[in-house]
């Protein structure tokens, strides 16, 4: 439940959303690509109002890549076909072009040798990296990460976070919901702390993590740090 939230994310900025479960951070993220529809209010991406009634939802979603906690790879397709599906069906790329793009992205996430693997043959961390490559294949303007390491054990978490840090360094605009404070500190440009559907506090990572002002932030951080 969101109760009135106002955020703007600059191009190339990495914004980290933190807060207890039920605080509305995932909902906020899912509003951006319209997987959840806000009852009221407006959302703009690159100057286009996506909450407007004349907007075709699936057109807006081309510009927003999303990575999920549960990976949600398509189990009936090999890794490479997971990645080529949308570029071919949505952007009308030929198979050849799409596969070249997919190989480039798999290489970027360090899984070029797994192109022909089925999702169930990959570890959780590998599946999540394929999922990131799949989202990147649409060349989105913003990437949305919804607790992408919560279902992974520590070793796999770092391999996924490394890919995300690399993306951040390349200047990708990212909104990241996570409980990984080390990632927030290292890769985040700004941290937003949410509580009960509102933004309680926001600022640069060093500031918020060291000197939280709001009691709710303090309590949350003392639990996760």
């Amino acid at each position: 439940m969101l109760k009135g939230v106002s955020v703007s994310v600059a191009k190339g900025e990495v914004v980290v959303l933190i807060g207890a479960s039920g605080s509305g951070k995932s909902t906020l993220l899912r509003c951006v690509n319209l997987l959840e529809e806000p009852d009221s209010g407006q959302i703009f991406i690159d100057g286009v109002e996506v909450t407007s009634k004349d907007v075709v939802k699936h057109r807006v979603r081309r510009d927003t890549g999303m990575v999920f906690q549960q990976f949600n790879l398509f189990p009936h397709m090999r890794a490479i076909d997971n990645i080529t599906l949308a570029p071919m069906r949505v952007k009308g790329m030929t198979r050849k072009e799409a596969e070249a793009l997919a190989m480039e992205l798999l290489d970027k996430v360090g899984l070029a040798d797994k192109a022909r693997s089925w999702p169930h043959q990959l570890s959780g961390g590998q599946q999540q990296r394929v999922a990131i490559a799949r989202a990147l294949a649409m060349r989105p303007k913003v990437m949305l990460f919804d607790e992408v390491t919560s279902a992974l054990d520590p070793g796999m978490t770092s391999e996924v976070l490394n890919v995300m840090k690399e993306l951040a360094a390349e200047g990708m605009t990212m909104i990241v919901v996570t409980h990984e404070m080390a990632f927030a500190r290292e890769a985040g440009d700004r941290i937003i702390f949410m509580h009960d559907g509102i933004i309680v506090e926001e600022g640069v990572p060093g500031e918020i993590l060291k000197h939280p002002r709001h009691p709710a932030t303090r309590e949350f951080l003392s639990n996760v740090l």
């Binding site: 690509n33 997987l35 939802k57 699936h58 057109r59 979603r61 081309r62 510009d63 927003t64 890549g65 999303m66 999920f68 549960q70 949600n72 790879l73 398509f74 189990p75 009936h76 397709m77 599906l85 949308a86 069906r89 949505v90 089925w118 999702p119 169930h120 999922a131 799949r134 989202a135 649409m138 949305l144």
Partner: protein, 262 residues
């Protein structure tokens, strides 16, 4: 092979065999073979076309039942409830004789196929609805988040997975429908059961004729289930289940070999 073997063991061979091997019975079966084969062909035609139409109709019904549009939902729901709640023989009668009153007279074969297709459509609809609902919502969300249209998500992501998952229950429905195709003999379609009944009532060899066609029906449905099992194995070994199944089969195969060697 095991179920077939078991069946033969349980089959009252000692009682039945003398009847079937008596010279008169053998002659009767041989003599009526051309007619029975004609009938079997018709039975297969009725079942195959009804199953095909039933699957297509079933997919439409499933989509209607899962649709957000209340009207589609309730029409499909009522349709399924009606088909499930009435005897198939009554449905066949309605299509063949009932519609005549409204000026629509179909030949018996066509009525049979239409009635069976409509019936199968409802059951297949339930099968597909279950299959579609069993696919995790995350799959749909992932598809949508990539910019695919809802139809593309259904066509490329949800449906292929659902289809693989419903093959066993779809197979059940196919077998049931193949057997129920014998009901169209009531409206005079000269299929297997119809012809066997005619010959039996002429020769009084009821036992021979009906055991004979029972074996034919069994052979058809058995082959059908073998084909379906093969289809299930062929359609992408992509989930954990089929993978562990294969490992299991490999292991038990190895054990068997070891057993034979020792």
């Amino acid at each position: 092979m095991t179920p077939l073997l078991l069946l033969f063991k349980l089959f009252p061979v000692r009682i039945v065999l003398p009847f079937l091997t008596a010279q008169s019975s053998i002659n009767l079966i041989i003599n009526s073979m051309p007619k029975l084969l004609e009938g079997a062909k018709l039975s297969l035609l009725v079942s195959a076309s009804s199953v095909t139409a039933g699957i297509c109709l079933g997919i439409i019904i499933a989509c209607a039942r899962l649709s957000k549009v209340k009207l589609f939902k309730s029409i499909a729901g009522a349709y399924v409830a009606f088909v499930r709640g009435t005897p198939m023989i009554v449905q066949i009668m309605i299509v063949h004789y009932g519609l005549t009153e409204f000026g629509l007279t179909l030949p018996a074969l066509a009525s049979g196929i239409v009635a069976l297709s409509l019936n199968s459509g409802a059951y297949m609809g339930e099968v597909f609805r279950g299959g579609i609902q069993s696919i995790d919502i995350g799959q749909t969300q992932a598809g949508l988040s990539l910019g695919l249209t809802p139809f593309q998500v259904f066509r490329h992501i949800v449906f292929p997975q659902a289809f693989r998952r419903v093959i066993p229950s779809m197979g059940n429905e196919m077998v049931t429908l193949t057997k129920d195709s014998s009901l169209v003999s009531y409206i005079g379609v000269a299929e297997l059961t119809y012809r066997a009944t005619l010959i039996a009532s002429r020769t009084y060899e009821y036992f021979t004729m009906y055991i004979g066609i029972a074996i034919v029906y069994f052979a058809i449905t058995y082959i059908l289930s073998l084909l379906l099992a093969r289809l299930e194995r062929r359609l992408g070994p992509y989930d954990q289940d089929s993978e562990s199944e294969k490992v299991f089969r490999r292991q038990s195969g190895a054990e068997r070999r070891v057993g034979v060697g020792g």
